[in-house]
């Protein structure tokens, strides 16, 4: 049984933000083991990993991406100082496309070349 399925809505006690629905990308199977992927620790680990990857993708479009302090939203920003809060990947891509002013396409050869070059650079280092 997936415990993540049980989390239909939650309220952040600090900022009062209502998280009404867990995005499909953030659900995980959890059999209840401590530190399992469906636990809070696992959720934080996934968020950290997600932020790191998205940051590298959005760099190609001149955008910045970070987890917010409460780990309930993400902060999307551009170099002109505009910023926007997004809750999940479903909200991220339309917002990032608006902010970048051009389509964000994972099949774009330019993006793939940049990501592959980054990978080679990391491999060489």
């Amino acid at each position: 049984m997936s415990r993540a399925e049980e989390v239909k809505s939650a309220l952040c006690v600090l900022c009062g933000q209502l998280v009404t629905e867990l995005h499909w990308a953030e659900r995980r199977f959890d059999a209840g083991a401590t530190g399992g992927l469906g636990t809070e620790l696992g959720r934080r680990r996934d968020r950290f990993h997600r932020t790191r990857i998205v940051k590298q993708v959005l760099e190609h479009y001149g955008l910045q991406f970070d987890d917010d302090w409460s780990a309930t939203s993400y902060v999307l920003a551009n170099r002109k100082g505009a910023s926007e809060l997004v809750q999940n990947l479903g909200q991220l891509w339309p917002a990032a496309q608006r902010m970048a002013g051009r389509p964000l396409d994972p099949l774009d050869p330019g993006l793939l070349c940049a990501l592959e070059a980054k990978q080679k650079g990391q491999g060489a280092a």
Binding site: S2, I53, V54, V57, G90, Q97
Partner: protein, 348 residues
Amino acid sequence: MSDARANRCPVTVIGGFLGSGKTTLLRRVLADEGSKGIAVVINEFGEVALDHHLVRQVGEQTVLVSGGCVCCNRRDDLVRVMRDLLDLDERGPIRKLRRVLIETSGLADPAPILFTLVTDPVLQHHFFVDGIVATVDAVNGQLQLDLHEESRKQATVADQLVLTKVDMAEPDELEKLVHRLRTINPMARITSAVFGELAGGRLFGDGASPSSLREGWGSGLSAEPERELYKANSSSPPTETRSLCLRLDQPLDWVAFTIWLSMLLHARGEDVLRVKGLINAREVGAVVLNGVQHVLHPPEHLERWPAEDESSRLVFITRKLDPQSIVRSLNAFQCLGGGQPVDANVSN
């Protein structure tokens, strides 16, 4: 039963081109299954040829949601009818609802139906799409596939294709049609029916397991059919629709995969006609993936693998997309996650 399905009523969508035998199949299925607790939703153009007390008609009124594409339409009429059924079920005038059958019109696109059921704030907690069935006329099917985009779309998004009027079709024509359907949709189960009577297998599952796991889904992705599929694509007239079957031996980085898939569906959702798969995400069981264009069913995280084979299997049916660029892109994102390049066994 998967938790995502517990306490929710299964919905089966039955589509198929005009005159392909949807109603005949439906009548027979209702007679065989026992109609108690089964509600049928038919379109307003359909004949009310069903002797069934729980028949509701819908007008196929679609509402384009803000910024929505063709698939992301909300079917307001369907929302009203489904909520009405829910109300009847909860107030008690009808016997416990155990399944809803939605018969679409011959020209309907099933994607807005899925979008409606998956995104409506009430319906998503009470219903889940158990499977999409499309009837294909064995005599006129080839012509309909040639001429009508709607017919190809119905075949593409189906979990099960039911060939009707097979008793009237020439055997070699039937074989060609089956071959073509396998090319269009390599993951669909193909069965046949004469006067609505299914030859082997059932139209519905028990509602407890994803339709993709019934009848050993994934076994159709062995090496041999893939080669046949490649040949079929190479020799058939140029078509914009292509299928890509991937088998990945190493587990996928789930976070990197979801970033990639959500970005792909955002950018190219209209051209990703179907995505389906069993993913090894380093969890105890498989993750079941099932999407139609922009509409992705919430992936199901299973408690175990349905078979010994724990490799990831992914099928994309796309329009105007280069399969090799999909693999290259998936690879680039997996490497970003710190993983190794995926060793994909590709056929397209």
